[in-house]
């Protein structure tokens, strides 16, 4: 009987992490932060160099396998003229629901680069209805942006299987129920250059794989 394993791990950053920049919020967006000055969040790093917002996914070893249709929507929200979360993952064919909690106008402009994934640009009124998007081709990363507020971005790792995760603030990730076999696993940080790959073998139980990603 075939077994499966959880793949867990921690990602840390090496080298000097560049300083973040203050977001050039306009007055209306600035009011929503009540005096706070938000910055870019390219490198969210913990006290021991744990790196958040890294998209971890299986890139080889799943060829020819079919998976159940994805359930539920992946949600992106716009809060204080910032996309939350900044990085997330989704399946091909899965609904990506873009909400807005802001009392200001946004345009939701996903800009896929893979042929066959369609570009959209939709208005979203203040506290307007959520917008739904779906794509059929894998793409890591698919960028969402708002052209009204040029500092607003979100990145979605879009893959055609359920074996992916995004690291949290503690740098850890868990990919559940990966069937036995040999795989290539990639850790991709949006700003740190090319993905870092590792080979793993799953034979039931639990597999631990840690990554070190050099800051660009």
């Amino acid at each position: 009987m075939a077994s499966a394993a959880d793949v867990v791990g921690k990602i840390t950053v090496t080298g000097t992490v560049p300083a973040e920049k203050d977001l050039p919020l306009d007055p209306k967006c600035g009011e929503l932060h009540k005096g706070a000055k938000p910055t870019t969040t390219f490198y969210v790093v913990g006290p021991n160099k744990e790196l958040a917002d890294v998209f971890v996914h299986i890139t080889k070893g799943l060829e020819g396998k079919k998976f159940d249709a994805p359930a539920g929507n992946v949600v992106l929200d716009q809060v204080g003229c910032i996309y939350v979360p900044y990085v997330t993952g989704a399946r091909t064919g899965q609904n990506i629901e873009v909400r807005t909690s802001d009392p200001v106008l946004h345009n939701v402009h996903p800009t896929p680069a893979v042929a066959g994934n369609k570009e959209y640009n939709k208005a979203q009124m203040p506290k307007g209805q959520p917008l739904m998007f779906t794509w059929d081709k894998p793409e890591v990363f698919l960028k969402f942006k708002c052209d009204v507020h040029p500092w607003m971005f979100a990145y979605v790792g879009l893959v055609d299987h359920p074996f992916f995760a995004v690291t949290g603030k503690d740098g850890t990730f868990t990919i559940k129920n990966l069937p036995d076999g040999k795989y290539t696993i990639d850790a991709y940080h949006r700003k740190a250059g090319k993905p870092v790959s590792k080979e793993i073998e799953v034979k039931g139980g639990r597999v631990t794989v840690n990554f070190e990603i050099p800051a660009a």
Partner: protein, 450 residues
């Protein structure tokens, strides 16, 4: 009080239109510099509104630049329509006059028409919903949600939102534009055909701007930016041809000869090509593909292998709130081609100015004009360098676009003035030759009679 006649009024109007168009190019530069080209997803509407009635409270962030650009462009369209009608009326007669005026009028009405009855009713309903919401909305929420189903947007990009007759016009206008250009050529640059060319060009330009938004095509943006420069050039030529100077131009020994004019013409073409390269850079987002100057990624010509590109993408200049896409080899080559073009033009215009000084001396106004042209290109080079050094600050990058257009217009007008002087002197020679033949024939007749 000096009397201003119709010709002077017309000339003044064309000059104002051309200057206003230079302003529009600046606004277009601000749109791309602020990466706001897609801030209004729908076209020809603005967030579902008739663009002329979009609430002022919504003019924020990127919308401010894009919406202002659209409104100002409509104003330039109006000025150009008036100019074309004015010139056509003055320079044609009988059936031709009425056919041209009717064409202008019908096209203006077609652009003002908002589509089928159903489309209008739907648009009105959306505006009415918005207007009620706007009137009752709290201050922080000036623009309120339209009643739309979940997952739907009140306004989206895409070809679906474009009225059918706009799509037809997008195919018809290039044909009309080429037709008018051919007629301009065949009529030896008759003013009324040039004016009609400008009219067709401004409509096509507006449609291109809309299609760039609706179809998500950067390539259309490059064409839009290029046509903007050529449209301004055409308006400037019309302004020159409606001037008193053009009418009263005299042959002068201080005017440039054939070789100088040819060199000036080649320089103008080079500037146009450079502007196309610049437009490609802006619309392919290659402006910061090379973040240093005078070196390029620390080299004379940067390597574009995979390892080098990875290094460039890790450069601290990429840590920006604009979150640029990764640099590609094509972007680096495009950027470097623009720099190489700049160097060639810079050397070329300085050499040309020296040639004018040597050939015509400082007394010639053409020499002084050529020197000013060289100074302009120097300023443009400095602003180009500043664009890189300031990490493409929006105001500096926009100034670079405007100065580029000014460099083209200035040099082109100088060259056309030179051609005009030469043309007039050619006519004088022909007349002199004709007079000479007449006198000689009279003398022979007198001898014969004796």
């Amino acid at each position: 009080m000096p009397v201003v006649n119709q010709s002077q009024k017309l000339h003044g109007f064309v000059v104002v239109t051309a200057l206003a168009t230079l302003g529009l190019i600046g606004l277009g530069g601000l749109v791309t510099s602020h990466q706001a080209g897609m801030a209004v997803p729908d076209w020809p509407t603005t967030y579902g509104y008739n663009m002329f009635f979009f609430p002022f409270s919504g003019w924020v962030g990127g919308i401010f630049y894009e919406h202002t650009h659209r409104l100002y462009a409509a104003f330039i369209g109006l000025l150009t329509s008036i100019m074309a009608g004015w010139i056509w009326w003055r320079h044609t007669e009988s059936k031709t006059r009425w056919a041209g005026m009717l064409t202008i009028l019908m096209l203006v009405m077609a652009l003002g028409h908002r589509g089928s009855g159903k489309a209008i009713r739907e648009a009105d309903a959306a505006v009415a919903t918005n207007s009620v919401a706007v009137a009752s909305a709290p201050a922080a929420q000036d623009i309120s949600p339209v009643n739309v189903a979940e997952g739907e947007s009140p306004a989206s990009g895409g070809a679906k939102g474009i009225p059918f007759h706009f799509k037809v016009l997008a195919f018809v206008m290039p044909v009309l534009l080429v037709f008018a250009l051919v007629q301009s050529y065949r009529s030896r640059a008759a003013l009324h055909w040039l004016a009609l060319t400008a009219f067709f060009a401004v409509i096509f330009q507006g449609l291109l701007g809309g299609l760039r938004v609706a179809l998500y095509k950067d390539e259309v943006g490059i064409f839009h930016a290029t046509l903007a420069q050529l449209f301004l050039l055409l308006l400037s030529i019309i302004a020159l041809m409606t001037s008193r100077w053009w009418e009263q131009a005299k042959s002068s020994p201080l005017a440039p000869g054939r070789k100088l004019l040819l060199a000036s013409g080649i320089a103008c073409v080079a500037v146009i090509l450079q502007l196309i390269l610049g437009a490609s850079m802006r619309h392919q987002h290659a402006g910061l593909a090379v973040p240093d100057f005078p070196l390029a990624h620390g080299q004379v010509w940067p390597a574009t292998d995979e390892a080098s590109l990875a290094k460039y993408n890790g450069h601290s200049s990429r840590m920006d709130t604009r979150d640029f896409n990764p640099i590609t080899a094509a972007q680096v080559h495009l950027h470097m081609a623009h720099r190489a073009g700049a160097l060639i033009i810079w050397v070329g215009l300085i050499t040309l100015a020296i040639a004018y000084v040597r050939s015509l001396g400082w007394r010639s106004p053409f020499t002084r004009a050529a020197v000013i042209w060289a100074l302009l290109i120097n300023s443009q080079a400095v602003v180009g360098a500043l664009t890189v050094w300031t990490n493409k600050a929006a105001d500096i990058a926009t100034l670079h676009v405007v100065l580029g257009a000014a460099t083209l217009i200035y040099g082109s007008l100088m060259t056309f003035c030179g051609f005009r002087c030469r043309m007039v002197s050619g006519r004088v020679e022909v007349l002199a030759a004709a007079n000479g033949r007449t006198q000689s024939a009279n003398a022979e007749a007198m001898i014969a009679s004796q």
